[in-house]
Symmetry: C2
Subunit: 345 residues, 2 copies
């Protein structure tokens, strides 16, 4: 049918602020908030405006969730696991050590009831959230000295936070909290011995290969790090049904396009880092095995203490093991062949 004449639609003027958990320098991540705002604006002829601000401009990142919950700022784009100190359940939104990879997180969220399950928790904090970007599996960080076994981790001062830091601590590492901008001088001066950041595309900007050449993988504490668009629950409830649908589709689109940016841009950055002296090293087997064991212990403790954590963790865990049963068949075998035959086609 041809388009009929324009009619009036309920299109309230809405103007929101979004406090990002990230600086502009992380252009792919910060850009996901800009993309999201653009998708919403375009879908509403500019009637629903969301203005992103870099971390620190309105409030510093650690205060974002509380500020949004209080309604001072309408929404944030952040990593839920930044708030795991308030409640470990927050970590399950983003990534936990040896947790779901990107496809697992998307499958669990979009088809496994994950979005509703996480919102069951977020709503109690007066927040409502949707998946909003992923880095893919991160790297395991930059080390000044090579490590060949678990014993080499004893007393190492590593910049690593969250549950990854907790697990590394159980392996003998002394976790350090340092902002991104201070990692380079700290490694250069030897104040710290190692630091994790994200992956090639972001790490290259910090130039860490010049001061800590051993580039370890994988970042087993972030097999896929999912970000969220978190909205004040009352502001969310005030939206019209159409605006809610527009926000949800825009978030899903930003979730996909942010990962696409990392996936498309990481390879060239990896090449450049290697050319600049980075030495790729897999974490030694005993480090991986011990980290896995300690992670499972941590989950047992947290599950015993926190009912929300237990329910959501068990849902993710059950799917994770099933997902890997299937993943190893078609997908993994195809990837293995393509990796081995990479230079030949």
């Amino acid at each position: 049918a041809l388009a009929a004449p324009a009619i009036a639609q309920e299109a309230p003027k809405v103007s929101w602020r979004l406090t990002s958990g990230f600086p502009k320098a992380l252009d792919t991540i910060y850009g996901a908030a800009e993309d999201f705002a653009k998708y919403v604006s375009e879908a509403t002829d500019g009637n629903f405006q969301i203005q992103p601000f870099p971390a620190g401009e309105i409030v510093p990142m650690p205060e974002a969730a509380d500020t949004v919950a209080a309604g001072t700022v309408e929404m944030t784009h952040t990593a839920s696991y930044y708030y795991w100190g308030k409640d470990p359940t927050y970590a399950l939104g983003t990534a936990v050590p040896f947790g779901l990879n990107v496809r697992g997180l998307n499958a669990w969220n979009y088809d496994g009831g994950g979005i509703d399950m996480m919102n069951g928790f977020y709503n109690k904090q007066n927040l409502h959230a949707f998946p909003g970007g992923n880095t893919g599996c991160q790297m395991g960080g930059w080390w000044r000295k090579e490590i060949t076994s678990l014993a080499d981790l004893a007393g190492v001062k590593m910049r690593i936070g969250g549950m990854g830091g907790k697990v590394m601590e159980a392996l003998g590492v002394v976790p350090q909290q340092i902002p991104g901008g201070e990692i380079y001088p700290a490694l250069e001066r030897g104040t710290i011995d190692a630091a994790e950041w994200v992956g090639p595309y972001d790490d290259e900007k910090l130039g860490l290969n010049k001061v800590a050449p051993y580039y370890y993988y994988p970042g087993f504490w972030e097999g896929g790090a999912m970000l969220h668009f978190m909205i004040n629950l009352d502001k969310w409830n005030e939206l019209t049904p159409a605006y809610k649908a527009i926000v949800e589709s825009a978030a899903a689109r930003a979730n996909a396009t942010m990962l696409a940016k990392y996936d498309y841009r990481n390879p060239a950055a990896l090449r450049s880092l290697i050319a600049g002296g980075a030495q790729l090293k897999p974490y030694p087997d005993d480090v991986m095995a011990k980290a896995f064991e300690e992670s499972n212990k941590l989950y047992a403790t947290l599950s015993a203490e926190n009912a929300d954590f237990k329910t959501i963790f068990e849902s993710q865990q059950a799917y994770r093991n099933e997902a890997n049963l299937w993943n190893q068949v078609a997908e993994y075998t195809f990837d293995t062949f393509m990796i081995r035959n990479r230079p030949r086609g």
Copy 2:
């Protein structure tokens, strides 16, 4: 800011038909068109209505692209590679043997200029398209007899179409074109020896494990099969900017949620198929190697004959090889560890 009073927005009543390339029985795939229509309707307060019809109800699948190009039906949800007989460039939208996997396709489309590049081609056919769902890496099909080497493929009658069929033909297979509903009786009677369909979730519905127990992997001709929402170009151009944005976000969301459905539902189906007698078998090394070689020959021929194919294939190919350079580091190592330790956490 609080919501201001409602104002008038240009919200034309639009009513479109969508002819799906798939039957309702493929509920995850057909469902992606239903989901897309729902996302668009919700975002427009029901002013933009898209009604999906199963393949054959308006026109049979092979006529969908022409029918949409002619404007008789506004849009289709289909696999672009169905139309590779008209022009092999169509195949590059969906999957080619040993092509990009899911993440590669998304990265190339959303950040590598793939959507615009494909639309440069589709627009010449009076179509405009967006990625709209993915199955993930498919399985390599059901075989009545075990195959242990390339020699066993000689003269085998296999239900397989498209470029996969072309490559299989170079390996000695006799490709057969059979609709999904006729695969079971053809395998049962021995009219054909093998058949490829999708993956565990869809294959289980056909019950092929009962008549051809050897379940091969990977479906190297579909390392990631991406569907498209294809729209008549004039109808697309008639949409308001807001409706265009809403369609694009809805397509991206459906692209993510369809893959999520497969990823979440395939594991249980795989278990059930194995319990029902399916025997999982990797394609022999010499089959994979020869198929890769023949695929590269085919691409050389098609590139020499077709400028659109050459441009787009080279763009995908260049990224594919770079993607696998990076993929093998963090992501693949993480997946390997998780697969090996699956029963332990």
